[in-house]
Amino acid sequence: MPDSIHEHALFSAFDALIFQKTAGQFECLGGLPSWFPPSGVLQGPEGTPEKLLEVSFFLQHFLRDVGPWWESNKVGQMKSGLWSETAIFGEDVILEATAVYQGGQRYLVLQRFGSDMLPVQPLLQKAREEQLSHRASIHLHERTEARLGTQLAKSEQERDDLLAVLDGLRLGTIMTDANGVVTFLSGKAQELLQVDSAKVLGCTLPAGLGWKGEYTNRIEEMGKVTEAGRQPISVVVERKKRPSVSLEVDVHDDPRGSRKKILFLKDVTEVEELRRQLTGPTQFHRLIGKSPAMRAVYERIRDIATVDVSVLIQGETGTGKELVARALHDFSLRKDRPFVAVNCAGLTESLLGSQLFGHKRGAFTGAVQDHEGFFEAADGGTLFLDEIGDMPLPIQTTLLRVLQEGEIIRLGESRPRVVNVRVLAATNQDLPSLVESGRFRSDLLYRIRVARLQLPPLRERREDIPLLSLAFLEKARVIIGKIGVRDIAQTAMQCFLRYSWPGNVRELKGALDYALIHCRSNSILPDDLPPEFRELSPSIGSLSGPGVRDQRQEILEALKHVNGRRAQAAKLLNMSRSTFYRRMRELSIPMDDQSS
C-alpha cells in the first residue's frame, strides 16, 4: 500500500479537518470529517474546507497569531482554545484549532468539540448553576437576615419608644407568662419597686417582688375575670431608705395570649397623699375642719373613743357636741350597739326620770303601760345626755347611782335592772360654777368627766369657715332645690370671716340656708346674707341691743307660726331644742307664753 494511501486513511480516522500549509496555501488532507460539510454558509460547491479558513473571524485571528510561530520553525503545537461557530454552520458548533510544526511541515487541525467532550459542558453548566443556586441561597439568607435585623431594630425602637412613653406617663410595666413568671420589667417598674430586673426576671411575682400574698392573690383573681370587669388593685410598696409608694395595678391580658398578663403600675402616691389631706385633717367622721384646734379634737376623739369611760363634752352652743358624741360612739367598741341621745333641758323632773329610767304601768297618771327608758334602750351602747347642766338635782342623784351600780329601777318598780351603758354628757355651761351654786352634784361631775373634751367656738377657728360654708352649701343647695348656686362670693365670705358667730357652726349653717333661699344668682352675695352679717354687729355675750330684740321677736314669731309647738319652732329657727329653751329663758320668754 502506497504511503499516501496510508496517510489518507490515518487522517480520515481522526474525524478532523487537517490542513497542510504549503507555499502560503492550505490543502485539506485526508477525508472530510463527519461534521463537514455543514448546512450553513459553506453549503454548496463553494463549501470547501479551505473556505472555512476565509469566513471564520476566529480562525483568521488565530492564523494571524500562529503565523510568526510557524515561521520560527520550532517543533510543537499551539492550540486556539474553544470557540463557537453558529452562523457559519447554521447550528452551534464548538471547535478547537491546533497549529502543528512537525518534520518541517506546517499543519492546521480543526476538531469539533464532539461526543468525546460532551460531558464537560453539562458538568460545567451544572457546576455553575449550583454555584449560582448556592449564591442565591446565601443572598436570600443575607437578605432575610437583613430584613429580620431591620424589623428587629424597628421593633426594638418601637418598644423603646413605647417604654419611654410609659415611663413618661409614670407607668411601670411588668409582663408575666402563662405560669405567672415575670418575663419583662420596665425601667420605671424597677424604679417604683426598687428592684433589679435581673433578680426578678424568671421569678413569680411573690418570689421576685416580695409582695404580700394578698396583693398577688388579688392580681391572680383579677386576671381570671373578664377585662371589662377588672378593677385596679391598690398596692403599697415599702422601700428601703425611701418613702413607701402607693400603686394602682391594672391587669391586662397579653394580646398574644390571655394567660400571659401585662401589669401596668401607676404611681398614685401623690394622689393618695392629697386624698389623705382632703379626707384626713379636713374631716373626721361628720366633723368638718382643718384648723389646729379641730385636729386636736380629732386626735382626742381617737384617743378616748375606745376607752370605755364617761366623757364630758364641753363647748358653746352649736359647736357640734352631739356630732362628737356620735363620733366617740362610732369609733368605740360599742359602735354596733345603740346610740341614744337625750336632751336634759326643758323636761320636767318626772318626765325626764321616766324617759331615762322607764316606768311601770300605773306608776303615775298617764302611765298606761310599761315603758322602757333610754338607759335600757341604750343597753350595750351609748347614752348621750345633752345639756346635762340643766338636769334636775333629783335626777342627777338617780343618775349617779345608775352610773355607780350599773343598774336602773323603773319608776313604780322596785326590781333593779342591770344595764351596760357608756354615758357621754355635754354642756355649754360651767359645771364647776353650777356645783358651787348647788345646782349640780359634785360627785356626779367627777363621775361624768373621767375624760373631757373641749370644743372650740367657731370664732376661734375662722380658717374652717370657708370649708364649712362650702360643705353646707353643697348639701343645702340640693335640699333647698337651688342646684345652680355653686359658690359663695368673696365679699360674702369676708362677711362670714368677720362675724363673731355666737351660734357657732349651727348659726353658720342657718345663715347659709337663709342666704341660699334668698340667692338669685349662681353665687351667694352679701345681700343674700341675713341682716346681722351685713351690719356686722356681733352681739356675743350681750343680751341687750337690737340683736337681742330681733332674736326675741324672731322666737315669738316662730312660736306663733307653729301654734306654740316649741320643738317645731326650734326646728324652724334651725336651733336645737336645748338652745331654743335656753334662749327662751335668756330672753325672758315664758314657757307657757307661746304667743306674746
Binding site: F58, H61, S80, G81, W83, T86, F113, L124, R128, Q131
Partner: protein, 165 residues
C-alpha cells in the same frame, strides 16, 4: 469598513452573552446557558460619522473552572467589563480581569456595566463600590439586558472611545 474587536469580560453568569444578544438581535432569554470557549457576533454601528463593524468576542465567564486565555484578548480595540449588580463578588472578578487585560494589551478603552438593573429588590452594588475601577473606564453605567435599558448607549460609548483612540 473598519472592524473593531470587542471582548466581553466578566465573571460567569453576569450576563455577557445576554448583553450581546440584546445588542445584536434585540432578544433576551431568562434561561442561563454557560458559554464554552468563545462566541463571536458582529454588528455594524456608526460612530463619529463612520461605520464600524463591531466584532464581539463573547468570552466564557472567568471562574475557577475556566480562565480567560490571553490569546483571546489579542487584537482587541476595547472591551466591556460586566458586573452582576445583584452579586457583589463579581466586582472582584471584574477588577482581576481588568488587571489581566491591561497587562496583556496595555490600556485600551473599556466600559464598566452593572447589569441586571431590572432586579432592583436584589440590587447589592453601589457605585462607590466600583469607583476605583470606574475612574479608569470611559463609561460606568447600570444596564439591563432584560429590558435593554442602557445597552445601546454602552456599546455606542465604547465605539466612540475606540474611534477616538
Amino acid at each position: 469598513m473598519v472592524q473593531k474587536k470587542i471582548c466581553m469580560l466578566g465573571g460567569f453568569a453576569v450576563g455577557k452573552t445576554s448583553l450581546v444578544r440584546r445588542f445584536v438581535s434585540g432578544i433576551f432569554s431568562e434561561k442561563y446557558l454557560t458559554t464554552v470557549g468563545v462566541k463571536i457576533d458582529q454588528r455594524t454601528v456608526t460612530a463619529k460619522g463612520k461605520e464600524l463593524l463591531l466584532v464581539l468576542w463573547d468570552l466564557y465567564g472567568d471562574d475557577d473552572y475556566q480562565k480567560v486565555r490571553a490569546s483571546y484578548l489579542q487584537g482587541s480595540s476595547g472591551y466591556i467589563l460586566v458586573i452582576d449588580g445583584t452579586r457583589k463578588e463579581t466586582i472582584d472578578v471584574a477588577i482581576r480581569l481588568h488587571e489581566f487585560t491591561t497587562a496583556t494589551l496595555g490600556p485600551i478603552p473599556f466600559v464598566l456595566l452593572l447589569n441586571k438593573y431590572d432586579l432592583e429588590d436584589e440590587w447589592a452594588v453601589d457605585l462607590p463600590m466600583v469607583s476605583d475601577l470606574g475612574q479608569k473606564a470611559c463609561l460606568v453605567s447600570t444596564v439591563s439586558a432584560k429590558t435593554g435599558e442602557g445597552v445601546e448607549a454602552a456599546f455606542a460609548a465604547l465605539a466612540e472611545a475606540m474611534t477616538s483612540s
